[in-house]
Amino acid sequence: MEQSDHQWFMVQVKREQQRLRAWVRSLGVRADWVDDLAQDTFVVAAGKLGEFDRSKDFGAWLRGIARHLVINERRKESRRTRLLSEQMTAMLAEHAEDSAASPAITADDNERREALRHCLDQLSEDGRQLIQERYFEDLSATVIAQRSRRNSNEIRQALLRMRRNLLQCMQHQLREA
């Protein structure tokens, strides 16, 4: 890659990486493998940068490559663990074109971060505590349950509720923005 192409490309990496990671995750990739697959996507994109028309949407082009890579994952026997479920990924990838249009996927990083911060503040005390443990301390539902002497299914359900609340709030915020 020419030096100028490399510089342009690295600017794109910084600009698109968060959106791309969210996209990769939304295709049913295991959380631990999201960074890896997103990096693979950028490496593949760098290799075929000559094919990209710079007047087009780079993010959309990346998402196409990522989708292709994730679908390919299903064919790789040894790497199947990168996916939560082969079957689910097949279906998520099928509907992925539509999800890409949602404001949450296309929103700018700062807007989305602000929306997330605002919505986290709207959660109940317990809800914040749960999100704190799950994401900021990176504890599994099982560990959170053990710590609070609760049933792990209750924790999973509570997390699902918090996520739904957050999502609803964020969609609202981002539409307003």
């Binding site: 959380a31 079957q87 900021f136 359900q157 996520r163």
Partner: protein
């Protein structure tokens, strides 16, 4: 929705799917639902995307990802280049030496390090162009890869770091020589020997330890009246020239003892056994004694001990914790250092870089050392040896000021092992793709120059991160926590940044050290003789 058993079952599967722990039968059921409902598919995709935003939000900085991509692109670029020529360029240039008189030579570490790069590349080198020759016109069959205080006699010294067939006499210190086929021989002075070729050496007097990988099976050490032929193993050999007596101690595998001139098998010596050869007579002696033979690690330990002795006297040290204590306090070994105690809270004493050397293990919440650093600092350098067990948090704090306010400094690593440090006044933080890899003893250094307005972080002597700040920034580090950090504020999110691993050695200077000085700390403190992590090709 409540009370609808269908919905609650779907939610149950959904919740487990999002946590990544759904059973196959649950996935099956969920897939069936999703297949019938595009809305559910979109909703699920949005929930997964949200999960990722939360993860990214928790990590905060995202420089490491871009650095990772840049690193991978760079790797691809690098592998296109001719590896062998790259390695050869790094080797010291041969010097013409006039006349036959040669002086005893101290072998500087830089040369040994260069040789090590060459030795690592050897498998490739063997398939490529012909190996070089020494200045004596002989082919290179072995290289010096590790040494402490090593001096060779006039009449028996290598050509810089290259050994061809010939006579050698190590008069001082210890050295490790790697043969072309991969066998390592560790020499403890005084020792005299001949190198015949890549598979054969003759021990005239003194003792050596040989580590023979499968590629070098058949490696033979000849002694008076016998030869020790190795079958993939580790052993020690010693010769008492005056008494015409030699010994063989086998630490691993099998070594055969044969006469010098034929293939008759005199003895097969296995793991833990030892024999003596006394004027051609082989006899068993008590068990193999590994203590008698130097190791790569024992050379490294001696090098560090020498470093420690000179470091203690450095007038610029604020504190130097060598981690050789066993109580509740770290002792400041800096002769001219400030009165800086290190109060250990719960962290346990464990084995450090070498057997017998101590380190602190940070394993449970609250394991820490509190260090009060008095005064203002215009510049400072921190240096430490760490072995990370794992990265539990988005940020993992090694040594952080208790809070985050003007003059404070945080020294930490992100989940990928990339440096994510900084000072309160800092900006333009730029990490490289150099990581602290879990499970390996790693040297880390923070060089913070408030006068120039620049901070530079190193991992194994390589640039890991830079940061700028307004020139003239003054630091007031205050109480620092080693091995943990918890946000003292009520901020969202309240952070937890416990370090998980071992720390062996921590020092602080009241000036900015240069990269060369940092690299010296790395070389002289490395637990391995061979600095693989530090100077990989």
């Amino acid at each position: 929705m409540k009370g609808d058993p269908h919905h609650s079952e779907l939610d149950h599967h959904l919740a487990r799917f999002l946590e990544g722990d759904a059973e196959p039968v649950e996935l099956e059921a969920l897939a069936a639902e999703v297949a019938n409902s595009p809305d559910l598919a979109h909703n699920l995709a949005a929930l997964l995307a949200l999960d990722q935003w939360l993860r990214d939000y928790a990590i905060g900085s995202d420089d490491s990802f871009a650095a990772g991509v840049a690193g991978r692109l760079n790797e691809i670029h690098e592998s296109d280049r001719d590896f062998v020529s790259g390695v050869e360029q790094r080797l010291p240039k041969p010097q013409k030496k006039p006349g036959a008189i040669r002086t005893p030579r101290f072998l500087p570490w830089t040369l040994a390090a260069a040789a090590m790069i060459f030795a690592l590349a050897w498998p490739i080198w063997r398939q490529g162009p012909k190996p070089g020759t020494t200045n004596h016109g002989t082919p290179v069959v072995a290289l010096l890869v590790n040494a402490f205080d090593a001096e060779f006699a006039e009449a028996g010294s290598p050509d810089a770091v290259s050994f061809g067939p010939g006579y050698y006499h190590l008069t001082k210190g210890a050295a490790q020589v790697r043969f072309q086929n991969g066998a390592d021989v560790i020499l403890e002075s005084p020792v005299e020997f001949h190198i015949e070729d890549a598979l054969h050496m003759t021990l005239v007097s003194g003792s050596v330890r040989a580590l023979v990988p499968p590629t070098a099976t058949g490696f033979t050490v000849q002694v008076p009246d016998a030869r020790f032929e190795d079958l993939g193993t580790e052993f020690g050999a010693s010769v008492d020239a005056a008494a015409q007596r030699s010994e063989l101690h086998v630490f691993e595998g099998l070594v055969e003892v044969k006469p010098p001139d034929n293939d008759e098998l005199l003895a097969s010596v296995t793991y833990g056994k030892a024999v003596a050869v006394d004027r051609g007579v082989v006899s068993a002696i008590p068990t193999a004694d590994p203590e008698r033979f130097a190791t790569s690690s024992s050379i490294a330990l001696r090098r560090w001990e020498a470093q420690r002795a000179s470091l203690c006297r450095d007038p610029n040290l604020v504190f130097y914790f060598a981690f050789e204590d066993d109580g509740n306090q770290l002792e400041n070994s800096a002769t001219f250092g400030s009165d800086v105690p290190g109060n250990i809270h719960r962290a346990r004493w464990v084995t450090g870089r070498w057997p017998g050397k101590r380190a602190l293990q940070f394993e449970n919440p609250g394991d820490s050392v509190l260090i009060d650093i008095p005064g203002n600092h215009a510049a400072f350098t921190l240096s430490s040896w760490i072995k990370v067990d794992r990265y539990d948090h988005s940020l993992n704090a090694l040594l952080n000021s208790a809070d985050w306010s003007p003059g404070r400094h945080h020294w930490q690593f992100n989940r990928l092992g990339l440096t994510a440090s900084g000072s309160f006044e800092g900006r333009d933080r730029t990490p490289t793709s150099i990581r602290v890899v879990p499970g390996q003893w790693t040297h880390v250094a923070a060089v913070v120059d408030g006068v120039q307005g620049k901070a530079t972080y190193y991992t194994n002597g390589e640039l890991a991160m830079t940061e700028t700040m307004p020139p003239g920034t003054v630091f007031r580090l205050g109480t620092m926590h080693l091995g943990t950090w918890t946000s003292p504020n009520k901020d969202w999110p309240p952070a937890v940044r416990d370090f998980r691993g071992r720390v062996d050695e921590l020092a602080m200077w009241r000036r900015a050290l240069t990269q060369t000085e940092i690299q010296t700390l790395v070389r002289e403190g490395s637990p391995l003789g061979l600095l693989q992590g530090a100077i990989a090709p």
